[in-house]
């Protein structure tokens, strides 16, 4: 494991390109986190509606997550 870390450290200078992939994944991560936060808040306010809220939460997370895949696969 230490070998791999050392190898990664020596190759830091050769980072290049794929900035759009990193930024896209960052945006998707923030989006998923926001959806998750609000879903938990909503479930806390109204525990009876947990099932409906969970479906909406998963849906919102999926739509936010799709941005990461656009950035990874469509960007060059």
């Amino acid at each position: 494991m230490t070998n791999i870390l050392a190898e990664a450290a020596t190759q830091l200078g050769s980072i290049s390109g794929s900035i759009q992939g990193g930024l896209g994944c960052l945006g998707a991560a923030v989006g998923v986190a926001l959806v998750g936060m609000k879903t938990v808040e909503a479930a806390g306010r109204n525990p009876g509606a947990f099932g409906k809220i969970m479906v909406l939460g998963i849906l919102g997370m999926a739509l936010a997550e799709a941005v990461a895949f656009y950035a990874l696969f469509l960007g060059k």
Partner: protein, 319 residues
């Protein structure tokens, strides 16, 4: 692949794959498409197709075995499992889609769910992705880059590159499979929307002016037609992008999961053998969760896309 000078050697990683206790080594290829294994009547058969056939058979046999003696009023244990799945799916999808479209599309949604679930979980079994053969290509300096682009790696001896080709590759790590699923979902959307609201209803819903003329002044109401038309054009683009997002989401999640497992497995290789299984273990649980969520999500998104147009009565509270 066969038109090139490639020798094949059976790789005895069977024993290794079975001995490495709970962990299935996922020697996953770094390619988007599956690798060709053999031909049937001139048509190439890839390793992901082979996995699809085997595990489709497993699904059919499993469901047959669970309801072996036919459905009864007092359900057997197996029938109860199936009924629980169907009932919970029904309670989620029915309010989204409206009764009419739901009764038509429900078998398709259940099919999506069970198919994708089994295909996702099949990647975690030992033997899937870890039993295969090693291809050795004799390369020169000129063709090395071409082979490297196909996933070949340099081996110890000079002038040779090797590539590990598993006999079974999880079906959803092949972009062809997920694209096919997305096309089926999209065709179903066209069919059910066409049957439910028709072309006229679709155009009215996409481009039509949704403002109430009693509420606002006439010039503003007329100018809103242009706004709603522009929104409709953006809507059309996003509908076309559904094909991409459905296939990429499923492919990216399962392919990324395979690579994650492989890397964790490699990280664990430096630890002593008796403890090394502990590093990939949490990620196997994560992959089981992700496989379930993605299978559910594919069915859910198909239902929502259809339901946005057919489930008018329930649309407001969900949007």
């Amino acid at each position: 692949m066969t038109h090139k000078q490639v020798g094949k050697f059976f790789k005895v990683s069977v024993v290794a794959a079975l001995i490495q206790s709970a962990t299935a080594s996922t020697a996953c290829a770094s390619e988007v498409k599956g690798e060709r294994i053999f031909d049937i009547l001139g048509l190439p058969v890839t390793n992901s197709m082979l996995t699809t056939w085997i595990f489709t058979l497993v699904i059919i046999l499993l469901f047959r075995l669970l309801i072996l003696r036919g459905a009864k009023l007092v359900p057997s244990a197996g029938q109860q499992i199936i009924e629980a799945i169907v009932d919970s799916m029904r309670s989620i999808f029915e309010p989204l889609m409206g009764k009419k479209a739901f009764s038509g599309a429900f078998p398709l949604l259940l099919g999506f769910f069970s198919y994708i679930l089994i295909m996702n979980w099949s990647g975690l079994l030992p033997g899937v992705g870890s039993v295969g053969e090693e291809q050795i290509a004799h390369v020169s300096a000129a063709t090395a880059a071409q082979y490297q682009a196909e996933g070949f790696k340099a081996s110890e001896s000079a002038g040779e590159m090797t590539k590990f080709i598993p006999y079974l590759r999880p079906a959803n790590t092949d972009l062809n499979t997920t694209l096919a699923l997305a096309i089926i979902s999209f065709s179903a959307w066209i069919y059910f929307v066409g049957r439910g609201v028709g072309l006229k209803g679709f155009i009215k819903d996409t481009f039509g002016n949704k403002a109430d003329p009693k509420d606002i002044a006439k010039p503003i109401y007329l100018s809103l037609f242009a706004v709603f038309f522009a929104v409709g054009c953006i809507d059309l683009i996003s509908i076309a992008m559904r094909l991409l997002s459905l296939s990429f989401r499923l492919f990216g999640n399962s392919f990324g999961g395979e690579i994650l497992l492989e890397n964790m497995y490699r990280l664990a290789g430096e630890l002593p053998q008796w403890i090394s299984w502990i590093i990939p273990l949490p990620f196997f649980l994560l992959e089981m969760l992700i496989g379930l969520i993605q299978a559910f999500l594919f069915a859910l998104l198909t239902a929502v896309y259809i339901g946005l147009l057919t489930g008018m009565g329930h649309e407001e509270q969900h949007e």
